[in-house]
Amino acid sequence: MSRKWVISAATAAAALFIGLGAVQAADAKKLVVGFSQIGSESGWRAAETKTAKTEAEKRGIDLKISDAQQKQENQIKAVRSFVAQGVDAIFIAPVVATGWDSVLKEAKEAKIPVMLLDRQIETKDQSLYMTAVTSDTVHEGRVAGEWLAKKTGGKCAVVELQGTVGSSPAINRKKGFDEVVAKNPGMKIIRTQSGDFTRAKGKEVMESFIKAENGGKDICAVYAHNDDMAVGAIQAIKEAGLKPGKDILVVSIDGVPDIFKAMSEGEANATVELTPNMAGPAFDALIAYKKDGKMPPKWIQTESKLFTPDTAKEEYERRKDAY
């Protein structure tokens, strides 16, 4: 623990050093980007921040990150301060969809391009931002469903662990999966409940699903709206004396390191990656725009890539430090 802290302190000191260097080298036409991040409420969010840093470093971009601690007012303050500093571009991972018009107008008047990461906003004036880099959450559900349909030959009794009731990823990931189920008459969602996107709730809900469905014998697969719930479900399946990944197939979304570990141990079958690399494509679009004024498309959709146990081991090694 303490060693980790020492390392992170050293990293922070180094970052500070580099930051100072960046200020001195400001003439060298280094791009400066301000990033208003929501916070660090989940492992994925932390990975997004971390990836943004490494992607910026790769391209020699000076990235200033402001943590809004889940508050829009903090994000608005951060954007204003970025405008005042005269950065080359502003990235926002918006905590809510509405209420951005006035501050984005200020950025537009200052001729600073704004790019949205990970989430969209609602606005009448689409010119307020240059592009949005997000994944297609409906598509993620679809990819997961298609994999399962293919794997089971279109015949499967599925239990579903939903995300937090009413949250947009939960709604969309359910929608995409349901589309596939509707196309396959042999597929059926026999139980669906909310596991609140957490391991503990995912495990608790899965425990009761197993009991309610003949000790789990009637369940062909579990579809979890995120990997954390899947990890909880895997434990519940094991404790019921069944083999996750064989007796009950496990498919989920996100692609966090722990699910790759589970896959490499044969306990999970597939995950659809929600890439934490939202900043990379945005940086590329920004560099292209600065170089020859090429406008990026309004929506840069990240890839919803499916991973299976074949590559799990390498993927786990590759990711475990990114998160």
């Binding site: 932390a46 909310s194 503990a200 699903f209 009991k211 004396g241």
Partner: protein, 347 residues
């Protein structure tokens, strides 16, 4: 609830509600009471109720005594996250189980001490004093885990959540043990009397020579310890510390369990076992909802409806209109409203 009427009639609403909820679960799901052995461990829905109810039951044990002093501890959920974060992070760093347990329990005790000092010495209102740690505690836990879900593989720590003792799941064993220790601590000493006296009238108790600050600090410290144990169980259960979600909103379930168990938020008489029964009522409902196959959108509404019925059964106003078993409390002994002047909870 009543004070003067001894005998079983006093506890009827709690036990009755628990049995009613269990029976309702059985009607929804006929195999509800089926229990079998799975890998040397009891397995079944009823066991799930006990096992999943353990964290809230543990919180309720500590919370009962805090509430008996006319206080409340909103920080228990955050303390769970801290203790879990400490346990998982230390285990990941290669520490052995004894050191890990000692450190996480110490973290809980320290949190309780902080709350207790704010309430007893600085005389901050409990709801505000513990709100500080409720907010800050999750941040502390995140600092410890560096914002990630810290997982571990140590079977020793995992045993606390997933192991069993004589086929009984460890969380249940630990809860029973802590309940017994707590009951012994308050009922075999004079601590219970002093907690109740301080809760009913802090001024009078101080005037009689009761060391009120020490009593107050003690209950918050014990509450912190109970929360730390609950945090360990949750962390061990999922083999990871989730600083964002561990124990989230469980302080409210714990308060609810205490109230359902019949301890008044105005302090005074308390019942530890009844609070645990309250926790089991809540969990039996949760498990029942999961088994029932209702849409998740209904979860909270169903839960609220059942709780309303349980609390109405305890309402002194309503019980007057219900037929009462023989020997039950007569009308005249309804607890009078506590005069505002007798307050010990003022800052």
């Amino acid at each position: 609830m009543t004070l003067s009427a001894p005998g079983p009639s006093r506890n009827l609403p709690q036990y009755g509600a628990l049995i009613a909820v269990l029976l309702a679960n059985w009607l929804l799901f006929p195999d509800f009471f089926a229990i079998r052995l799975q890998d040397g461990r009891l397995f079944g829905s009823l066991i799930d109720v006990l096992n999943r109810g353990a964290p809230v039951a543990l919180l309720a044990i500590g919370m009962t005594m805090v509430i008996a002093t006319r206080g409340v501890d909103l920080s228990v959920g955050a303390v769970m996250a801290i203790s879990g974060a400490v346990a998982a992070t230390m285990t990941g760093a290669g520490w052995g189980l004894p050191a890990v347990l000692a450190a996480s329990l110490a973290a809980g005790l320290l949190c309780g001490l902080w709350n207790g000092l704010l309430v007893a010495v600085l005389r901050i209102q409990p709801i505000i004093a513990t709100l500080i740690l409720m907010v800050a505690g999750r941040g502390i836990a995140q600092l410890v885990t560096e914002g990630q879900i810290v997982t571990f593989t140590s079977p020793a720590l995992a045993f606390i959540g997933g192991g069993s003792f004589l086929t009984v799941p460890m969380p249940v064993v630990i809860t029973i043990a802590l309940l017994a220790v707590t009951a012994l601590l308050v009922r075999a000493t004079a601590l219970g009397l002093m907690i109740e006296a301080v809760g009913v009238n802090r001024l009078s108790s101080a005037g009689a020579g009761v060391n009120t600050p020490v009593v107050l600090v003690a209950v918050y410290v014990w509450c912190g310890l109970c929360a730390a144990v609950a945090g360990l169980i949750v962390t061990a259960d999922i083999r990871g510390a989730d600083a964002n979600n561990a124990g989230l909103w469980l302080e409210l379930d714990a308060i609810l369990a205490v109230v359902v168990g019949g301890t008044s938020l105005l302090g005074g008489r308390f019942g530890l076992v009844l609070s645990v029964v309250g926790a089991l009522i809540i969990q039996a409902m949760n498990t029942g909802i999961l088994l029932s196959g209702f849409k998740p959108e209904f979860n909270l509404i169903v839960k609220a409806g059942v709780l309303l019925v349980v609390l109405l059964l305890q309402s002194p106003t309503l019980t007057l209109f219900l037929p009462r078993p023989k020997g039950a409390r007569p009308m005249g002994t309804v607890k009078p409203p506590v005069a505002p002047t007798s307050g010990g909870a003022k800052p």
